[in-house]
């Protein structure tokens, strides 16, 4: 039996098509459909139920910071309280168990994990920390994202002082008499927020967001939004056999950590110094044909040089878009490639990511 989030009734009341995703009943789309939902988010304020994602709290202080730096290739000592960073849980081969957002809290760390990975992540982290710290994958909390240029206005009507937050920073706020934790972040290429809130209050909170102009958006549009923004989806674009360097996410590993120890660090250092054989790139087909995951990529001499990992139609850029891995010498922008779709070779070009660019509020480079 798949689980329901605390917003299940709101989804079905708004005409959601529910699908099973990572063990949860989740809305793939509502009545408006993926394209309208996508465009609404780009122009207005889309509300996403991301309660299936893991909210892992680890309690501890300075010693925990040191121990977590042995697990994540990120600089936690310099992180300010309430500041977030994108990072990875990696294996010894330099592959990725999961990609995540880690936030420093007053009394520990909050780590947001992918739904399909969260239980395994918990076990891996617990083992690496030798059960030294209290860890809680908190199922009593919902996670709601509000994304788009009007997210700050819609959220601002029901939560005070929300606009004080800068990008990749969080803080404690109140909704009615309930304490909530809000970060200015998201995965759509838009300004926005993610709100961690008690399950009991989640439905009321979302209803008020809707009353103030927000609209529920399904997983379908979440996927087209993140792909237009050039963001990776774990399981498609990232996996246990792919390193952050191959995934072109080197920016997420600070220079100060390259010489230091974490799982896979030797391999990552070698890849940084010597280069990698394959690299994640953006790819634009020259026609409207969609090249979905596992589509083979060929060069002009008909030699197979890689594979698409995500592909869709980008409603805001109004064309077919894809990401994939190609042999390194085919990674420069504007390299001509061919995609095999239904037996035909479709011409395409390697292109810069993201496909769709909008400035984040006080944006961090490269995120």
């Amino acid at each position: 039996m798949s689980k329901k989030t605390s917003l299940y009734n709101i989804h079905t009341n708004h005409g959601a098509k529910m699908v099973e995703f990572a063990g949860y009943q989740m809305p793939i789309q509502y009545k408006d459909g993926i394209i309208q939902e996508h465009k609404f988010t780009r122009e207005n304020a889309g509300i996403f139920d991301v309660s299936h994602m893991g909210q892992l709290f680890i309690s501890g202080s300075d010693e925990l910071t040191e121990d977590l730096e042995k697990i994540f290739p990120v600089n936690l000592k310099n992180l300010k309280i309430n500041q977030s960073k994108y990072s990875f849980l990696m294996n010894e081969e330099g592959g990725i168990h999961d990609d995540l957002i880690i936030t420093k809290m007053n009394d520990g760390y909050l780590i947001i994990l992918n739904a399909a990975c969260k239980n395994q992540d918990f076990e891996i982290i617990q083992k690496k920390l030798n059960n030294k710290y209290q860890m809680n994958l908190d199922e009593s909390l919902s996670l709601i994202a509000i994304q788009g240029p009007k997210a700050k206005d819609v959220l601002g009507k029901i939560v005070s002082n929300i606009n004080d937050l800068s990008f990749m920073n969080g803080g404690n706020f109140t909704f009615e008499d309930t304490e909530i934790y809000v970060t200015r972040s998201g995965y759509t290429g838009e300004d926005g927020f993610e709100i961690s809130i008690d399950n009991q209050k989640a439905e009321k909170f979302v209803k008020q967001l809707i009353e103030n102009g927000g609209k529920l958006i399904g997983l379908g549009a979440r996927d087209t939004l993140r792909l237009e923004a050039g963001l990776c989806l774990y399981g498609n674009d990232l996996d246990e056999k792919t390193s952050p360097i191959e995934a072109n996410l080197k920016w997420a590993i600070p220079k100060s950590r390259v010489e230091t120890d974490y799982p896979g660090s030797e391999i990552i250092k070698k890849q940084i110094n010597e280069g990698v054989k394959t690299l994640r790139v953006g790819i634009k087909p020259e026609t409207r044909v969609i090249a979905r995951g596992n589509t083979k990529i060929f060069n002009e001499e008909d030699k197979e040089i890689g594979k698409i990992t995500s592909g869709t139609f980008g409603p805001s850029v109004d064309c077919s878009i894809a990401m994939g891995y190609v042999e390194n010498n085919y990674s420069p922008t504007n390299t001509k490639v061919f995609l095999e779709v239904r037996g035909k070779k479709i011409p395409a070009n390697v292109c810069d990511l993201p496909f769709y660019k909008k400035n984040y509020v006080k944006g961090e480079k490269n995120v």
């Binding site: 993926i34 394209i35 409207r288 044909v289 969609i290 139609f313 409603p315 077919s320 239904r342």
Partner: protein, 126 residues
């Protein structure tokens, strides 16, 4: 123009003389979601009853389009290739897919009428 007939693959077909106009049903578009790509058979090519005669892709997945009758493709609707969202807007009207010069008029006999199709669509959806 003849009565509209329907196939189990969710195509509709109307007949004018021996030329059939074929498209996909409203029910099919509702199941597919937003259509973002359409591929049609080549003009002048021959297609066989129940064979593939095109592709539509929604934001979610690709689906083959079948032809409910055999014949020679005498016209295609370029407008839906240029703007596939037209298929969601008017699937059983202006967003027809292709026209065939039919080979065997008796192939029409096995197709469903509107009432039969509506019942079939309702049952297959549940």
């Amino acid at each position: 123009m003849s009565e509209v007939k329907f196939s189990k693959e969710h195509e509709w077909i109307t007949l004018e003389g021996e030329v059939a106009t074929i498209g996909i049903t409203k029910h099919a578009t509702e199941m597919l979601g937003d259509i973002v790509f359409a591929e049609l058979p080549e003009k002048g090519s021959n297609v066989e009853k129940d064979g593939t005669a095109g592709v539509v892709e929604s934001t979610k997945a690709a689906s083959d389009v079948y032809t409910p009758v055999s014949g020679e493709v005498v016209d295609i609707n370029q407008a839906i290739v240029d703007d596939p969202s037209k298929i969601n807007e008017d699937p059983e009207g202006s967003a027809w897919f292709f026209k065939l010069k039919m080979k065997d008029m008796s192939e029409m006999d096995s197709l469903m009428n509107k009432e039969e199709y509506d019942k079939f669509a309702k049952e297959s959806a549940s």
